[in-house]
């Protein structure tokens, strides 16, 4: 009270005005801290356990070069030989065909949502994209079965799988396009209009290139997501142990389908194969994720 000018160098003494925090409240506070940290640890346990098991059991298979190139054609179920080349091919081809179909559609719809929000279809499209994002993969698969096989009378094939994957990919691509285009500053658009560039050309040559890195990253992420989908391959194509390069005829293996098929293989080789295929799938998905990160960094617009 008598101190007119407090000494700022010294920390202020705790005032008597404030009572220390009561014991029970302090205990509750500490308990909360411990519980929140434990929650995190609790979630990491399964992740670590799963990755450890997949890597430990899958490593011997993956380290063998033949694993990546060969198929199980004429390899007996009890033999440790052979490889998953045919399934890698199938997984990649099905995902890429799906990407080829869904990228133009998804990007165009994303452009519509951001650049023409006054359109009457903008609201229903946003809503339907959300609905599509919530459609279980098995429902997408039986829908494609209903159209492609029951109505149009086509065979079960890898292409049918790709069509189902399109349904699962579309909402991912529309949303990532939308997010990325929203990030493009309006000043860029206005500058372009001021130079007399028409709107469509502004979008094609200014807006999209600016957002391109993020959009490509989104595409890679959506490919990674659909490569692990199992329900469509279970319903829309059969498993085969050999390479099949035809999209429209015959069975085609993919990594999820191979795992599902080999789960019923009682031999030791069955275990070897499923964990090997699981690790292969995780490696490919991780690669797609790395490519996504790389794309978003390397292709980002250079600002100076």
């Amino acid at each position: 009270m008598s101190q007119a000018t407090p000494d700022l160098a010294k920390p202020a003494k705790p005032s008597d005005t404030f009572l220390p925090i009561a014991g029970s409240r302090r205990v509750k506070d500490k308990t909360a801290t411990v519980i929140f940290s434990l929650c995190f640890v609790l979630a990491v346990i399964p992740l670590v356990a799963l990755l450890y098991k997949v890597i430990e059991s899958g490593l011997p298979a993956v380290l063998n070069p033949a694993w990546w190139t060969n198929s199980f054609f004429l390899v007996s179920p009890s033999s440790m030989g052979g490889g998953v080349g045919h399934a890698i091919y199938g997984s990649l081809v099905q995902a890429i065909i799906a990407a080829v179909i869904s990228i133009p559609l998804g990007v165009a719809a994303g452009i519509m949502l951001v650049e023409y929000p006054e359109s009457k279809l903008a609201k229903p499209t946003t809503f339907m994209v959300d609905v599509l994002a919530g459609v279980p993969s098995v429902v997408a698969a039986i829908f494609i079965f209903g159209v492609w096989v029951s109505v149009l009378k086509f065979q079960l094939s890898a292409f049918a799988v790709s069509l189902a994957l399109v349904l699962l990919m579309l909402p991912l691509i529309v949303r990532s396009t939308e997010e990325m285009l929203k990030l493009v500053p309006d000043e860029l658009r206005e500058a372009s209009y001021a130079l007399g560039v028409p709107k469509w050309k502004t979008i094609v040559s200014i807006v999209v290139p600016t957002a391109l890195s993020g959009m490509i990253s989104g595409v890679f992420l959506s490919i990674a997501r659909v490569m692990g989908e199992t329900a469509p391959v279970l319903i829309l194509v059969g498993y085969t142990a050999s390479f099949n390069y035809s999209l429209f005829e015959g069975n085609m293996a993919s990594l999820p389908l191979l795992i599902f098929n080999q789960l019923s293989n009682p031999n030791e080789a069955g275990q070897y194969r499923i964990w090997g295929a699981a690790l292969t799938l995780i490696i490919i998905i991780a690669l797609a994720n790395v490519l996504a990160t790389f794309a978003s960094k390397a292709l980002a617009p250079k600002t100076k």
């Binding site: 409240r25 506070d29 909360a32 801290t33 929140f36 940290s37 929650c39 995190f40 990491v44 399964p46 992740l47 799963l50 098991k53 997949v54 133009p104 559609l105 998804g106 165009a108 519509m112 949502l113 023409y116 359109s119 279809l121 499209t125 339907m128 959300d130 609905v131 599509l132 994002a133 919530g134 279980p136 993969s137 098995v138 429902v139 698969a141 039986i142 829908f143 209903g146 159209v147 349904l167 579309l170 130079l195 560039v197 028409p198 469509w200 094609v204 040559s205 990674a224 997501r225 989908e229 199992t230 329900a231 279970l234 319903i235 999820p256 599902f260 789960l263 699981a278 799938l281 998905i285």
Partner: protein, 350 residues
């Protein structure tokens, strides 16, 4: 007319591709030419704008039409089978579609297994996910928080079939002692009563629910994390200024503020759990007897039943029975996602 248009468009493209601002003597344009060019450009670019806009709107229309088509196709293909069904579709637990002449199928048992496993997964995952979200936003330092968030997101990147085989081979046996203990000591609670499959096998709703909980954890975490992070710092500072401890601050400001995000995230996760196919298909044992409300039952969910029946899709009527089940699943997930959307005010990113 068309020839002129295409010529105009070409000319239009040339001006922009060569930059318009190119160097050289053309830097100061001839006013007359500009005026003419402007008129020509304006016409053709209006057309081009309309075409471009039409293309993008058409893409939106395709997506809108797709959903409608899904609903129509499912209904049309399910109807003949539903009409030929000899038992009540909604209240029967029968599933015998091997004879197209005498179809008997009902969804009661699948509905029970689907809802029981999903709700169980939600009960396990929601508190943990909210705990993680709070930890990431409020306790972990900013830099650490980013990498830890990526770690949790990694859970979402693992394909469901890998969760399925891990659940069958690794987690199932791990959970057997806990399941046995729960059954022996808390068996009087209906949830832990005797089921229709052997607990020692591990292929119970209990195991499937734990795996589902791990799978849906990242969805709830990410949505809760976003909304907790958005809690206005003024609210938080006000709570601290009133003398609240950190926990009290979180309870009084962050949780009420983030409630809608947490509920929306949980609903999205529920939608995912309801539709999860292959992990459940691999883990759950087929049951010999119709189930009870015990977690130690086996059986099929909608999704796993459809996937397991793929081999039977050779005659329209049995196929229609499975499509009818798919239609119910579609409607179920549609409404769950609708709730998620309305709770979060349209900001859903699952």
């Amino acid at each position: 007319m068309t020839v002129h248009e295409s010529v105009d468009r070409d000319a239009d493209q040339n001006t922009v591709q060569s930059g318009g601002l190119s160097d050289g003597p053309g830097l100061v344009p001839d006013p007359e030419k500009v005026a003419k060019g402007d008129l020509r450009d304006a016409k053709s670019s209006q057309k081009a704008d309309a075409i471009f806009r039409g293309v993008t709107v058409a893409a939106g229309a395709v997506i809108v039409a797709l959903i409608g088509l899904i609903a129509i196709v499912l209904v049309m293909q399910a109807t003949p089978s539903l009409l030929a069904n000899n038992v009540n579709f909604l209240t029967s637990s029968e599933w015998n579609t091997s004879d197209p002449e005498n179809l008997q199928f009902g969804i009661l048992d699948m509905f029970r297994v689907t809802v029981l496993s999903s709700i169980f997964a939600l009960v396990l995952a929601v508190p943990v996910a909210i705990g993680i979200a709070t930890f990431l936003v409020q306790y972990a330092p900013e830099r650490l928080s980013r990498s830890l968030s990526a770690l949790i997101d990694l859970l979402a990147a693992v394909p469901s079939i890998i969760y399925g085989m891990w659940g069958l081979i690794v987690l199932g046996p791990w959970l057997v002692p806990l399941s046995t203990w729960l059954n022996e000591n808390l068996g009087w609670i209906f949830l832990f009563g005797d089921g229709n499959v052997s607990i020692a096998g591990g292929g119970t709703i209990f195991t499937a629910g734990v795996v589902l909980a791990i799978m849906i954890l990242p969805i709830i975490t990410s949505m809760s994390r976003e909304t907790i992070r958005q809690t206005p710092s003024l609210h938080q500072e006000a709570a601290l200024a009133l003398g609240a401890t950190k926990w009290e601050k979180i309870r009084m400001t962050c949780f009420p503020y983030a409630k809608s995000g947490m509920i929306a995230g949980s609903m999205l996760a529920l939608g995912r759990a309801l539709g999860e196919t292959v992990a459940v298909l691999i883990i759950l044992r087929a049951a010999s007897a119709p189930g009870t409300l015990s977690l130690f039952d086996g059986g099929f969910t909608f999704a796993s039943k459809i996937a397991s029946g793929a081999a039977e899709f050779n005659h329209p009527l049995p196929t229609g029975a499975y499509i009818a089940a798919g239609l119910v699943l579609f409607i179920l997930t549609f409404f769950v996602n609708l709730i998620a959307r309305s709770v979060s005010g349209g900001k859903v990113n699952g």
